[in-house]
């Protein structure tokens, strides 16, 4: 099934003809279709995992889009439809998973990395500033420099 779906995904990527097979929405369905696309763009196709449900040609994605259309027809809200998907396929099906203990690292991780990066940058800049500000010549060196300057002036 996995391999097969992958092959189907790949095959469809290269055939313009297959895209034409998708039925054009009828005028009355434009609103439903718009909502369906908006909702399915929030959802991951679990077969081709890096595609949204809206963009995937996997069979399961087609089934789920049909299911979403049906639920819209039944007057369900967007949240009810997203909850329906999440109850069956888990947080992973959402492109924006809910905040909860298991997803804290997922949401916070990039900010942690950025904070670490900024801290490292500040430490680096401070060290460089210290090194630049450090006295360049000792007293002994000053004397020698003065002596050398005297020599060349005379």
């Amino acid at each position: 099934m996995k391999l097969r779906s992958l092959l189907v995904c790949c095959a469809l990527m290269f055939t313009g003809a297959a895209m034409a097979k998708e039925a054009a929405p009828m005028a009355a369905d434009v609103e439903v279709e718009k909502r369906m696309v908006a909702i399915s763009e929030e959802l991951r196709c679990l077969v081709c995992q890096n595609e949204s449900l809206a963009g995937s040609h996997a069979e399961l994605a087609q089934d789920l889009r049909r299911e979403i259309r049906k639920m819209i027809g039944e007057g369900k809200t967007d949240k009810e439809i997203l909850d329906f998907m999440e109850a069956r396929y888990g947080d992973f099906v959402r492109y924006r998973p809910p905040m909860k203990p298991t997803t804290w690292l997922l949401w916070g991780g990039p900010f942690l990395l950025m904070a670490g990066g900024i801290a490292a940058l500040i430490a680096f800049l401070r060290r460089r500033a210290r090194e630049a500000a450090a006295p360049e010549l000792s007293e002994e060196e000053h004397r020698r420099a003065a002596a050398l300057l005297d020599q060349s002036n005379s």
Binding site: M1, V47, Q49, E59, E67, R88, G90, D91
Partner: protein
């Protein structure tokens, strides 16, 4: 020397994370249905034309629900493991025949009437089991895959372990190997059967 230590340590941490990542299967998505009641359904059985199957029939038993299809290549690899399981275990193994006809891209199922599709589903599923042996106590026919959606099926084969109270205790995605049978499923069903 010391200035290289921190980047080196960071590099090794990265390598360890990537190494762990390589051993994990991205297709094995944890199911939210674990420790939740198995979704109810009523579907026609393969064997008896007029009888239905429902998970409620299995209350009080530990049982396995295996989602399969004759067009599914991995199911072929898995089948001998299921047959071996059926031969040595008394636990019921229920098959869920998933989109047997419309899942096969060689057939244009849109042209078939629902009755014809059900008939063809029966014929194909029976032929497959006759050829390879039938490990199932019952096979329920999910012709349109709607029950599959309720169980969060996204890649056949998938197998659910359901306890005596009708709770899903484990979901196994992909073909069961003799190793995963021995290490994961058998210990769990032994525990649940106590």
């Amino acid at each position: 020397m010391k200035r290289f230590l921190i980047p080196l340590a960071a590099f090794f941490v990265l390598v360890i994370f990537l190494a762990i990542g390589l051993t994990r299967d991205p297709h094995d998505v944890p199911s939210p249905l674990k420790d939740k009641p198995a979704p109810a359904f009523t579907l026609p059985q393969l064997a008896a034309g007029d009888k239905n199957f429902s998970p409620a029939d299995m209350m009080g038993k530990v049982w396995l629900l295996n989602v399969w299809s004759s067009w599914c290549v991995s199911c072929r690899a898995e089948h001998p493991v299921l047959v071996a399981f059926a031969n040595q275990s008394k636990l019921p193994l229920v098959g869920l025949s998933y989109k047997e006809v419309r899942g096969d891209s060689d057939i244009d199922a849109g042209k078939l009437s629902p009755d014809d599709e059900l008939r063809l589903t029966r014929r194909r599923a029976s032929a497959w089991l006759a050829e390879r042996g039938n490990p199932y106590t019952t096979v329920a026919l999910d012709v349109d895959g709607r029950v599959g959606i309720d169980y969060g099926v996204y890649g056949v084969p998938e197998t659910y372990v359901i306890d005596k109270t009708g709770m899903i205790r484990m979901k196994h995605t992909g073909p069961i190997t003799s190793e995963s049978m021995k290490k994961q499923i058998l210990p769990l069903v032994a525990e649940l059967s106590k």
